[in-house]
Symmetry: C2
Subunit: 517 residues, 2 copies
């Protein structure tokens, strides 16, 4: 058994069931190994950003790492933007990056580059010195590292950069899977500190991220909110929150700093549960980076790497909240507006059309704007743009569909963002994934118009205007979709949007809906 086969067999034994691949020559022995280990499903993408973003979406929905198979430094580089988003989501991922053997590195062959340094930007675990004998063990260590929470995230990205000689050389056979790393338990003192805060009855807000947004954690947080009258809130762009009718009522931190300040005004105690203190998404001239209100005390119930579910459970018990009645989102107005696609009406159509248990992946302003509206709609999982790197939504929705073949998936994408990784449609078509992609085709980078106005610029000159305008020429999204093998429809009214959405849920495989808005 060569190194490549020992690696793939060992990862499969760890429970890695999916490899998102865009291989090249240096990965041929890994391809051969994948051919011999069909229990790890191999899915091809036309661009590496689709592989990494899909691995992120898969991890958010399954809690498990997928492997990616990438071709040296440039292949890895193409995947970094979505690995950045995955890192912020705390998604476990195992990157397998083929490389030249070390003995080949000194000759400056065309694909030679400094892959290790590249990987440092997003990886918590890197190894690039594997031999054929060590490779399977290195893969298992990569898996263990990916499942370990750290001070930034609930899961991690491992990057195993392997010379072709480690893949083709004779191995010592496969390596047994280790135990899943356990989270540290929160000290009793931290629980008591927050219980004491709650007993004060002062305005208190729990800011929740990462593991603290799991369904179990939210149930306990809901009890605490009900018992003590405190607020519970997620960060602005959480990796995954399950919302909609029946789910625990949860606020979401707004985007712009002045909105955050307004929302947090009057809060005396900010309790962090798997979260960091709120900060402005971008820095603005004359504006604060840190958005903790003056006079507000910050308490940490659970650090990111600690067991937030357990901490919330113990706090609920200690503070007498166990029998409190949780406030839950309720099904709201499900009427379908008609007429032109005004923003409010468009979002209402989407909310009213959500099928039960849908997974929503967003990558756009309109997608985010749909979130609050959809909390009064069908129960769902919502996957946000965690790292601000647009081009996430298509790949993440692809990976979510691979993780959950029985659930419908809805990608709500801006046209600007969708253009980055439009190749994800092809993988959706190839694998016949049940993804409905809505493109909000407003034909501009609209957020930049907003941000430019925030500089105080009142007159936008022709060059600036051209840099925010993607309507010259117009992108024909239906034509792009068909080009990649995906059925498409263009809509320009509430009725046609509602019809297209209904039709898409009935149609197996992917559909794209271009919304002229």
């Amino acid at each position: 058994m060569n190194g490549a086969q020992a690696l793939i067999e060992s990862l499969a034994d760890c429970g890695v069931e999916l490899c998102l691949a865009n291989p090249g020559t240096s990965e041929m022995h890994l391809v051969q190994a994948l051919d011999q280990v069909p229990r790890m499903r191999s899915v091809l993408a036309l661009f590496e950003g689709v592989c990494t973003g899909a691995a992120d979406g898969y991890a958010r929905m399954s809690g498990k790492p997928a492997a990616t198979l990438l071709h040296l430094g440039p292949g890895l580089a193409n995947g970094i933007a979505n690995l950045h988003n995955a890192r912020k989501a705390g998604s476990p991922i195992i990157n397998l990056v083929g490389n030249h053997p070390h003995y080949h590195m000194g000759y400056d062959a065309p694909l030679t580059s400094d892959v290790d340094t590249l990987a440092r930007n997003f990886s918590c675990w890197i190894k690039s010195s594997s031999t054929a004998q060590s490779l399977a063990g290195d893969g298992v260590n990569a898996w263990t590292a990916s499942m370990r929470a750290n001070p930034d995230s609930q899961g991690q990205i491992s990057t195993l950069i392997l010379g072709a000689d480690a893949a083709w050389g004779e191995s010592k056979g496969k390596v047994s899977p280790p135990a899943i790393p356990k989270r540290a338990t929160v000290d009793e003192a931290a629980i008591r500190d927050v219980a004491n805060v709650l007993a004060l009855g002062e305005p208190t807000l729990f800011l929740m991220e990462q593991q603290a947004l799991s369904a179990d954690a939210l149930e306990f947080a809901g009890k605490l909110a009900a018992q003590h009258g405190c607020r519970i809130m997620s960060g602005t762009f959480p990796g995954r929150v399950d919302g909609g009718a029946g789910r625990v009522k949860l606020e979401r931190l707004p985007y712009f700093p002045e909105q955050v300040e307004a929302s947090l005004a009057g809060i005396k105690h900010l309790v962090l549960v798997g979260a960091k203190p709120p900060a402005s998404f971008f820095a603005y001239q004359g504006s604060s980076s840190l958005l903790v209100p003056d006079g507000c005390q910050v308490h940490t119930l659970a650090r990111v790497e600690e067991d937030a579910v357990d901490a919330l459970a113990r706090l609920s018990d200690l503070s007498g909240a166990d029998n409190a009645t949780i406030s839950r989102f309720e099904l709201g107005d499900m009427s379908l507006p008609t007429g032109p696609l005004k923003s409010r009406h468009m979002l209402q159509v989407i909310a009213a059309s959500l099928p039960e248990n849908v997974i929503v992946a967003t990558d756009s302003g309109a997608g985010n704007a749909a979130h609050p509206v959809c909390q009064s709609a069908a129960p769902h999982s919502w996957l946000s743009l965690t790292g601000g790197s647009i081009g996430q939504g298509g790949p993440v929705s692809t990976g979510a569909a691979l993780a959950c073949p029985d659930r419908p998936v809805l990608a709500l994408l801006g046209d600007g963002g969708a253009a980055y990784t439009i190749q994800s449609l092809w993988t959706q078509a190839r694998e016949q994934l049940n993804v409905t992609t809505v493109i909000f085709a407003n034909r501009k980078y609209n957020i930049l118009n907003v941000e430019y106005a925030r500089l105080g610029v009142t007159e936008v000159g022709p060059i600036a205007e051209s840099l925010f305008d993607i309507g010259n020429p117009n992108i024909d999204w239906a034509s792009l979709a068909r080009g990649f093998g995906v059925e498409a429809i263009t809509v320009d009214s509430c009725e046609s949007l509602a019809d297209a959405l209904q039709q898409s849920w009935k149609t197996p495989g992917p559909v794209l809906i271009e919304v002229l808005c």
Copy 2:
């Protein structure tokens, strides 16, 4: 004048005439500056790999750096694959990467990442500590560095990572352009050494790269070849060589190691002119990395950073070659084959259809195969895939067209490679660039079939086969092109390919030709 405007004014004074932009919020002051400095042309791309690849194509044709405008770590990351190719081409480029101010970095805002480390993979010059006062000077230093040859390349990539506060703060005004860095002159001893080699009359080959492939350098090399009966050869994938009828006859190093060994067999003296010793593109089990024949002496006429043109001129003079009659490519058979698109016929149609002075950018096996055939066709400039990272050809052809608006441009792309950066079509449509894109739609990663067979695998299993197959579903390239605003035609015969090419040269703006082959 704020830092951003001082920077853009200073770069424009250095002669930077083009900015390939994909900006975000942190770059708003740079956009404002571009709006105020119209002598620097701002061109928008939908994806950063288009910006960086276009900057590469622009540099190869103009010898000058363009600026790119990129959005923090993820924006830079999306551009790295084509920066890798640009680095191997020795193209000068100035990346302007917006970032958070340093004071904002500690709060782990979503777009925070380690941009400096990312930039190390491909940059020869990096600065990320600019203030508003230093920014213009830092930009000028970035320009100077980009124009400086180094031991790897004739030009370099500079990356200026600038906090938004350096852009918005008050500057000291613009900074004057410095002189263009000069290359070191080759020592007389090196010239004499090679002259002595030539005097031996033994089998000698000049391997030429980077500046040594400029038209001036090739004229002198042609004289040396004619006088002394030595061979002159470029590397396998040079950044730019001007070829075709009337141009100096030049061989090209083959791709596979056994082909290189066969081609170099019997050579007693290998003379490096801006080149490194030939090495295998990939490492193969049981095969050498270094491909210098046994018993062959290696001599260096000019190191990459030295003045190769001057060295060749002096060698020509010293060795009495100045009046030798250069052997030049001659116009060959320009007949147009008919019938099905067999490989040989397809390439002949392309060669016979080349318009005078065309710029050809390739990114595919068929594109490379067209190169020798086209040497008997119209004079042209040929831009190869320098770094092996596919997805280069579309962006490079876009940048070449921006550099040379009066010349036709032909992109010869594989379907696999074209899918990486298909967004380049939109920029071609927006700027109405005269680019004809030929997609060789064989619906597979064909090189991987070849490389897999080289492993000795005789039976390709279904998983491996699926990972080499991009024909499920078929990509409809004409539909993709129209989606991005580019006219398209699909051809399946020699006649229809010839007609489509002729038509494309008559049509202003971009055209895509999907070749079913």
